[in-house]
């Protein structure tokens, strides 16, 4: 059984099926005996009783408080959950807070940068690092923090709205609140959207991300901050 599995999928890969796309996506992860994965805390909606759950601040058995704190800054939970199947196989279902789509991506040693908040789950041998992008992140209206995922295995991420990939070969501009993930091979600068800074600020776009090089960026059709701006003023102050 185990050999059969390894024939189909590269080692370290997860068997993930995204159901109910794109409005109410949920990820069904099937674990073979002994298999495990890492997920954002709070993402689990249902699971087999035989699955063991362990909560740490960073990687399983190596919880670094600083790493956890850095991840909390990036809009992700302070804690990560590790789900493992014991002697039996089992299933874990993961959901997202925002209405939207989910995506599965296989990594073969390359790096993937995921916007804080979009990370859902990953194979145990994928390294999760929080990269502080420098002071340029501070002046953006969205807090630009990224999770740097690297290794061999599967990554699952979610979006607010639909996800569309853009294959970049040259230069492309993406509004910072719409970036879900991008390949490490791409370079980016934070810049103005229009010809002039004045246009960019007056036009409501503020800072945007200008990607260059060759690689793929995954974009979400909707922006949680913009939705928040129209909903927020209508809410009463918290008691």
């Amino acid at each position: 059984m185990e050999n059969q599995f390894e024939d189909i999928k590269p080692k370290g890969s997860l068997d993930v099926t995204i159901k109910l796309r794109p409005g109410s996506s949920a990820a069904e992860i099937k674990l073979l005996p002994g298999q495990e994965f890492t997920a954002e805390a709070g993402a689990m909606i249902a699971m087999s009783p035989s699955i063991q759950m362990q909560t740490t601040t960073y990687k399983k058995n190596s919880g670094g408080i600083m790493k956890g704190l850095k991840r909390m800054l990036s809009g992700e939970s302070f804690f990560l959950n590790h789900y493992s199947a014991g002697y039996e196989e089992g299933t874990v279902w993961l959901g997202a807070t925002q209405a939207g789509d989910m995506m599965v991506k296989e990594l073969n040693g390359e790096g993937l940068i995921v916007q804080g908040g979009s990370y859902v789950a990953s194979s145990p041998n994928i390294e999760i690092n929080t990269n502080w992008q420098g002071f340029k992140s501070l002046i953006s209206k969205e807090s630009l923090f990224w999770l740097n995922l690297k290794g061999r295995g599967t990554v699952v991420f979610n979006s607010f709205g639909a996800i569309y990939p853009i294959q970049i070969n040259g230069e492309y501009i993406v509004d910072t609140g719409h970036i879900v993930a991008f390949e490490e091979s791409l370079n980016f600068t934070l810049t103005k959207a229009g010809k002039s800074w004045l246009s960019s600020i007056l036009g409501g776009e503020g800072l945007v991300c200008k990607f260059s090089g060759t690689g793929t960026v995954w974009i979400q059709s909707h922006n949680t901050s913009t939705f928040g701006y129209i909903l927020g003023p209508r809410l009463k102050p918290r008691k």
Binding site: G100, Y172, K195, S221
Partner: protein, 219 residues
């Protein structure tokens, strides 16, 4: 120019391909991604005075963005709206159409964006004092929270406040109580808008105020 709506009906967004020399106009902050060579210029929404009036009295953005292709190849821009929901495109042929605040997403360069006094009744109904009126020649894209429904009316029709997206300029809008005093207060509808006239109206299936008041009960 090639305009496509993707992600219908829950997460609809626009994919606009601009040929060399073409310009497309969009609401401030509607751009989600675009070719880096595309020129983006912010301009007053409906002229200088219109921009100011719309910002401070119509609770809409003061500026719109003009996207212009000054290269010699086809360039792309993706445009979206703040809420998840559907997007529709109407084509104006020297006609005009009224859009409720927040519904406008984008339009051809030949479409004029103007403002129109909506009347004090509109304020009672919880809408702004001014409405956006689009006129001229070309396509106009607008969106709503949830699904978009349209209805041809001739005479009168009643739409719940916050659900009306677009209507013909000849139509009269009057806020009124949904029913008697009792059913208006306890039936959950409160004010509704009575529309009088002839033509097409667009309605959205959800409204942000409804979501906000539901969340408010949990705060």
């Amino acid at each position: 120019m090639n305009i496509k709506i993707e992600g219908k009906p829950v997460f609809a967004y626009l994919v606009v391909e601009l040929e060399p020399g073409e310009t497309f106009v969009a609401e401030a902050d509607a751009m989600s991604s675009m070719s880096a060579e595309l020129d983006m210029t912010a301009k007053f929404n409906g002229g200088f005075l219109g921009g100011i009036v719309r910002k401070f009295l119509g609770s809409e953005s003061m500026f719109v963005n003009h996207f212009t292709n000054n290269t010699n190849k086809t360039l792309t821009v993706h445009l979206t709206q703040p809420t998840p929901g559907d997007v529709e495109i109407i084509e104006l042929n020297n006609e005009s159409y009224c859009l409720e605040s927040g519904a406008y997403i984008a339009s051809d360069a030949g479409v004029k964006l103007g403002i129109r006094w909506a009347g004090f009744g509109s304020l009672i109904g919880g809408e702004g004092l001014f409405k956006l009126i689009v006129s001229g020649k070309g396509k106009v894209a607008f969106g709503g929270y949830g699904g978009l429904l349209h209805k041809e009316i001739n005479g009168e029709y009643i739409v719940d406040t916050g659900h009306l997206v677009g209507y013909e300029p000849n139509m009269k809008l009057k806020p009124q109580l949904a029913g008697g005093i009792f059913s208006s207060l306890f039936g959950g509808e409160g004010f509704v808008t009575r529309i009088e006239g002839k033509g097409k109206i667009w309605i959205q299936s959800r409204n942000v105020s409804g979501l906000a008041s539901w969340i408010n009960r949990h705060l």
